[in-house]
Symmetry: C2
Subunit: 199 residues, 2 copies
């Protein structure tokens, strides 16, 4: 052990971050201690505050500092539309880049039996309750076009049909501006099987 | 602002880490809050502890929890040899991979006038004091073979000569096991200009 215990402990703790191995943790620790001491102190405070104050919205499971997130608390959103996504980042992306103004439900994952992630972990009972609201007319399934995302979409579609609500799936295909030869195989297969009549 | 303030603050704080932009900070924050809550709490504690308890060794400027680091405090090291490196990581690398058992001096950087890093920032006055110790017989300059590292090496060599001590520079060239065609140009130029007579 070349480094003092407090430095070894910091490098070990940094490895809980995604994609951070031993070399990166070392580089991070040096930068924090040598050039970012204020930032490091702020990071410690922010971690504690986020752990203490952040929970999930009662209605949509988005990260929330209160019982309800701002979107669920708003009376300006369209109750007829309920968009189901895998991650809080998906909500952020849809809010930033589209004019969608319905409601959301965040799964915080996707069905993955091998990882022990089933309907309970994704809060699907709460989603079924949301669907039981008479105002909801369309469930938009926006899970990712992976094997697990598709299985999850299928499960949610069944829930919606059981509740007598229309279900739609966002379109997947070649990105706008993308070139066929650079698109991955799965996307290309999706784009082909999802082809539409030219009008 | 889609995310609650405590989450925005955490994502902003994570960006003080080297190489962490907005997307990575978001992914890190989600992982910490959803799957690494214990790790996140530990990281906050480790940051505070490292900031509170770590300083630099009085003699060599290595990170140290006490006045002297274990290497400087040891009476098992060879006082005749003083190896000058840029970073604490260099000490760790030399200790792990070589049988060097002399002393060290850590610059915590390299001369870089444009960034305001001069002799004072590198503790070169303290290094000159170390060289004044009658026990020191050889200064081994192990700064990196970059333009700034070479300028730093040159400066240190002058200090050593002024103190009447032998100066050596670690060898730079094609890595053992490396192939010429994959070696970067600077290394190759170093290897060629540093060629030795075959005996
Ligand atoms: Zn909500
Ligand atoms: Zn020391």
């Amino acid at each position: 052990m070349i480094y003092p215990p407090a430095l070894e402990a910091l490098m070990a703790a940094l490895r809980c971050l995604p994609g951070v191995g031993q070399k990166t943790a070392q580089r991070m620790a040096f930068q924090l201690l040598q050039r970012e001491r204020d930032g490091a102190r702020q990071l410690a405070r922010s971690l504690d505050q986020a752990l203490d104050e952040l929970g999930h919205c009662r209605d949509c499971r988005m990260f929330s500092q209160g019982d309800l997130c701002p979107i669920c608390a708003s009376d300006k959103r369209d109750d007829a539309l309920l968009c189901v996504v895998e991650s809080p980042a998906d909500v952020a992306a849809l809010e930033s880049h589209t004019d969608y103004r319905g409601r959301y439900f965040v799964l915080l994952g996707r069905l993955s039996p091998l990882d022990g992630i089933g309907p309970e972990e994704l809060g699907l009972a709460r989603l079924a309750e949301r669907m039981a609201d008479a105002a909801v007319q369309e469930v938009i399934v926006a899970t990712n076009p992976t094997v697990e995302g598709e299985a999850t979409a299928h499960y949610i579609a069944e829930l919606a049909r059981a509740a007598g609500i229309a279900v739609t799936r966002i379109a997947h295909g070649v990105p706008v501006g993308g070139e066929l030869e650079y698109v991955d195989g799965g996307t290309l297969a999706h784009a082909l099987s999802g082809r539409r009549q030219v009008e």
